[in-house]
Subunit: 649 residues, 2 copies
């Protein structure tokens, strides 16, 4: 929601709403107490359309399965007493009564003493018979008799009526999820339709004028609506019938009308959006008018997810998710999915948990439960859980995590080296085959593409060159991509390698100055001339790079001690530099050629950066590492890098 | 398929088809080699409609996310250099430039030295600014200035462009399954539709005149088509687009026409039905004409599943499943699902495995791989895997199993007490809360209903009274329902209890003689008179019960040494006795009153049977056991038992 933003710089007023903040456990308890128990609506569905649904009532078997005593083999129905002493040396001759019982044929003649009836697998055992002799254990005698060469015991090769499913037994219980196996049992009893819990209808409304729906053109300052799509999909994944109503314009009357209609048509309403505090207020005011009891929790002592709002309006749950995507998705999974599944008659999700070691210290705020999204990699002594460094504003913090760990409200940190229990987002942990921790480059995606397409899981964790080196030294990755310039030797990378690491040459990335192509101040200049021109114009603003970046060293050399306007704007990536210049937030900066090209910026080449790999020698013989080295050296790999503007080493 | 069945009693001819039997591994290898690699057809789908599908191509991020440097808090965009030394004791005053940046608002004014711009969470950082000061750390100074009371470092509370997703990075790889998290990443980049692998269209045809579709009336000698429904559902569960074409009449020309049309419209054809050997021949003959290379494996050294037929016709898989439901479903999951998932672009199912002990010896045939469906219960020292005793002809062997264990082709048995690895059918094992092993009774379902509805998992394994007692003595169950008459004492059950077991009284079941209500020979007689009447009529056939059944003792007493016709027909359940009489396969037998009632038979009461529980004392305090005892003693439980014809003890 983008209400015109008016900062309220008075902390005492601003903090008011947090007086009602509940603990996560208290918020869950109050929310569920206001919703359950409740009668779940049900509907009758054909078997095939009931897949994945919860049965709304017990199903009692209406018939015996099989419905009659059935032959399990092809052969002859006999009286076991007649052939009790039959054998190879003492064959017993039985007359055939002329009847042949196929599947589906009801016998008409009884099996009298000394008589046999031909019967197929699945055929009903005729009156008088109590056993089946396999055709393989008989010999024909003319056309109307057989010799039986093996004894038969009573009941041999007979499946008795009701031995699979007995009429009157509780076949399935209310609450059972209808899968293919349940459908098999129901079909076997002749049941064609079942009463299932109706899927809860959930309306999803995005709020915020800054939101543009995927597929549409992005305006300046606007962002794509992520939460609308992901919440809609997550509702479908958890038994709901999701209706995404799009983003509602930023107008209290229109929003209230939309919310009232959505709630009238649905069993649940989920609002997403509203990253700013002021924005949320409108939705809260409306909810207070929608029905009783209204807001249950406004703010939860939970990270990510503090701004979550839980309400119940005349028996229906109404939720305002936090605007930050990872906050929205984590709270949705943690607190809304359990309610949704219960409304759908589904059992709680049973999340798998694994033990892992945390390689770095994670700070946490006292007084609120914190959940940290983590990626798992295989270390020397078991799993290692890397916290996502991107924060709750990033969708990838949630979407690329394997799971999460919990820091209790009373702890202010998780020390490096801690053992943690990681709750997985998927039933099984798929540990990556190749782990790359360090500086990321789009060239890396090109080299790992054949591995990914061969079914190998490649995980690349972007922590910068120094972070990668540290991980490699600890043996937590296979490869650390680095581009570290050593001032003393005037060379890249090699001086930084410790024992146990070896250098694998990667490729060169041309660094240079970017500017908008229509900026006459820079057109046609060399790098040195461009910097002189920039320094000469007080209106000209630069964008720098973060301390420690190889590019930063180059920039500082070029500036020779100058600190022009924009020097303190220090983003951490080549892409951010290009975006700043393209969006007029800065006029020049330094990035690499492929990024300049993709951004449509002018580019003045300056010097090549060496993007190489610190390989953990102990892991060199792993098949995935070998596959990576092969891909890097391959003609296809080198051609792809060259086409993208890199120069393979 | 119910071709008129003609037994061929010549073993040498009959064995011919088995000459080509392949091992399971060889059959899988040949089948997959004939199908893969192959080009998978793809289609473009909207995000919401792509849920669960496999991406058909890599997706490269087309934009940076966020697209601009974004404020993470409500506050003021500043130059960090201006407030580098700000503090409570040394507030820094900045002038407001009058602009307020909401979400979605593009800044128009730069932040010059000494100036600040109000900015909301999610707003784009304006030109000149390099940090955000939280509103909480400021104080208003009139209407057009603020005091900043805390220092800000460069980049504070800024999320740089591309820090979540960088333009040009490989966002998702071909083969990735689109879940809500992937949808989130795609939506964040503004992607509204994706190229996914098209779901393989699979036609399912049931064959066999004996098959009746669920919902229709069951003819005598007919059975319901189980495999059609379960295979259709299992295909949907594994990424296929299933089209069930119903049961095709038993006519070679019609079947061929149906198979040709189905194959032309589909990517795969699955035939099910044909329990008899002769029946299958027709389908095989047709497949040989459908396309090259034709049949790959006809008969696999596998149990259950030996009659499985695998074919590839002009590049499309054609499968004839065994007719027995558990054979059909096991082979479908073991050999067809992997092919189906690969055609759908999905990864192999990752089946969870658990270790368990096998309490009984399981015999196996040398020379073929045997898979044994098992139910898991918690024992004193870990999981115990009970083999299903029902065989491959029963759907419940598969449908009620938790998983299966494997006996290698070279082993002829798995000894009692073996450690086995059980492959689960579902990702997590849900060990039952209450385990009841022994004789089953529909009254038991009534007593356990409230437990099931409260979410407890109750497992009842029917192994008869003596089998239940043995399990209870080994501590493998909580309760063993028994009805064992002791001739010596003339009492039920108590004399059979060993140390560590205690008797919980259950209910009485009235046993008596059943007959068809229109059978004048029995109407109005006492039990003794009825047996005398039966013995007097040589055309009258009885149905007995198995040795060891309590009812059998009663029958033998009544017969007083006589062995009338039908004596050797010895089914194992009350239901089978009723079915035999109702279906004219026998004229009288002994069963319990509720079963007689459900079957619409005449009933002559004779004596009450005591259905009690041997409770494992060591498990008595378990909550589920207590819940069971409560339900048994409750007024509702007793009323339900009484209404169903039982007499609570």
């Amino acid at each position: 929601m983008s209400q015109p933003f008016t900062p309220k710089p008075n902390p005492s007023v601003e903090q008011d709403q947090f007086l009602t903040i509940l603990s996560r456990e208290e918020a869950i308890a109050r929310f569920e107490a206001a919703l359950f128990p409740r009668q779940l609506p049900s509907e009758t569905r054909l078997l095939a359309d009931a897949l994945g649904r919860a049965l709304a009532e017990d199903v009692v078997a209406p018939i015996d399965v099989p419905p009659f005593d059935r032959s399990n083999v092809d052969g002859f129905a006999v009286r076991s007493a007649d052939v009790a002493h039959a054998g190879e040396a003492a064959p017993v001759q039985l007359a055939l009564n002329g009847e042949t019982i196929s599947c589906g044929t009801a016998p008409t003649l009884p099996v009298l003493p000394g008589i046999a009836t031909a019967i197929a697998t699945g055929g009903p055992v005729p009156r008088g018979a109590d056993a089946i002799v396999m055709v393989e254990h008989t010999q024909p005698v003319g056309h109307d008799a057989i010799e039986v060469r093996r004894a038969a015991s009573p009941g041999q090769f007979v499946s008795y009526a009701g031995s699979d499913i007995a009429r009157g037994e509780a076949l399935l219980r209310a609450g059972a999820i209808v899968g293919s196996r349940e459908i098999g049992m129901l079909a076997a009893c002749g049941i064609a339709e079942v009463l299932v819990t109706r899927r809860p209808r959930v309306a999803i409304v995005s709020t915020g004028d800054e939101l543009v729906q995927p597929g549409e053109k992005l305006r300046p300052a606007a962002i794509y609506d992520t939460n609308g799509a992901i919440v809609t999909a997550a509702i479908a994944e958890n038994g709901g019938d999701a209706a995404f109503l799009g983003a509602i314009a930023d107008n209290e009357a229109m929003l209230e009308a939309a919310m009232r209609k959505a709630l009238a048509d649905s069993d649940m309403l989920v609002l997403s959006g509203g990253t700013s505090k002021g924005a949320g207020d409108v939705s809260h005011r409306i909810i207070a008018r929608l029905g009783k009891p209204g807001i249950i929790a406004h703010g939860v002592a939970l990270k990510p997810g503090k701004p979550l709002c839980l309400a119940v309006c005349d028996g229906k749950p109404v939720v305002i998710l936090p605007g930050f995507p990872t906050s929205a998705m984590f709270t949705f999974h943690d607190m809304i999915v359990p309610v949704l599944r219960r409304m759908a008659g589904l059992p709680p999700r049973s999340d798998a948990k694994v033990a892992a070691k945390v390689p770095v210290r994670i700070a946490s705020e006292l007084g609120r439960t914190e959940f940290v999204m983590v990626s798992l990699v295989e270390g020397a002594d078991g799993l290692i859980a890397y916290p996502s460094g991107k924060g709750s504003g990033a969708i990838t913090s949630f979407a690329q995590a394997d799971g999460f760990l919990k820091i209790e409200a009373l702890a202010d940190q998780l020390p490096a080296g801690s053992d943690a229990e990681v709750t997985l987002f998927t039933p099984h942990v798929r540990v990556p085959d190749l782990v790359i921790v360090g500086s990321h480059c789009t060239g890396l995606d090109l080299v790992t593409a054949p591995l990914a397409h061969a079914g190998l899981v490649v995980r690349s964790i972007a922590v910068g060159s120094l972070g990668g080196l540290a991980a490699a030294k600890r043996g937590e990755c296979d490869l650390a991509p680095i581009h570290l310039f050593d001032d003393k030797t005037g060379t890249y990378n090699a001086p930084y390698l410790a024992d146990g690491l070896e250098l694998v040459p990667g490729w060169r990335r041309m660094q240079g100055i970017v500017f908008r192509k229509d900026d006459a101040r820079f057109v046609g200049l060399s790098a040195e001339e461009a910097v002189r021109a920039a320094l000469a114009d007080p209106a000209c603003i630069m964008v720098n790079r973060n301390q420690g970046a190889g590019t930063r060293i180059l920039i500082d050399r070029l500036l020779g001690g100058h600190r022009p306007d924009g020097y303190w704007n220090q983003p951490r990536s080549h892409n951010a530099v290009a975006a700043a210049v393209a969006q007029h937030r800065a006029d020049w900066g330094m990035t690499i050629a492929p990024v300049a090209l993709a951004s449509g910026l002018g580019f003045i080449p300056l010097a090549e950066e060496h993007y190489d790999f610190a390989l953990v020698t102990a892991r060199k013989q792993r098949p995935a590492v070998q596959a990576f080295l092969d891909a890097l050296a391959s003609g296809e790999g080198r051609a792809a890098l060259t086409a993208a503007g890199f120069r393979p080493a």
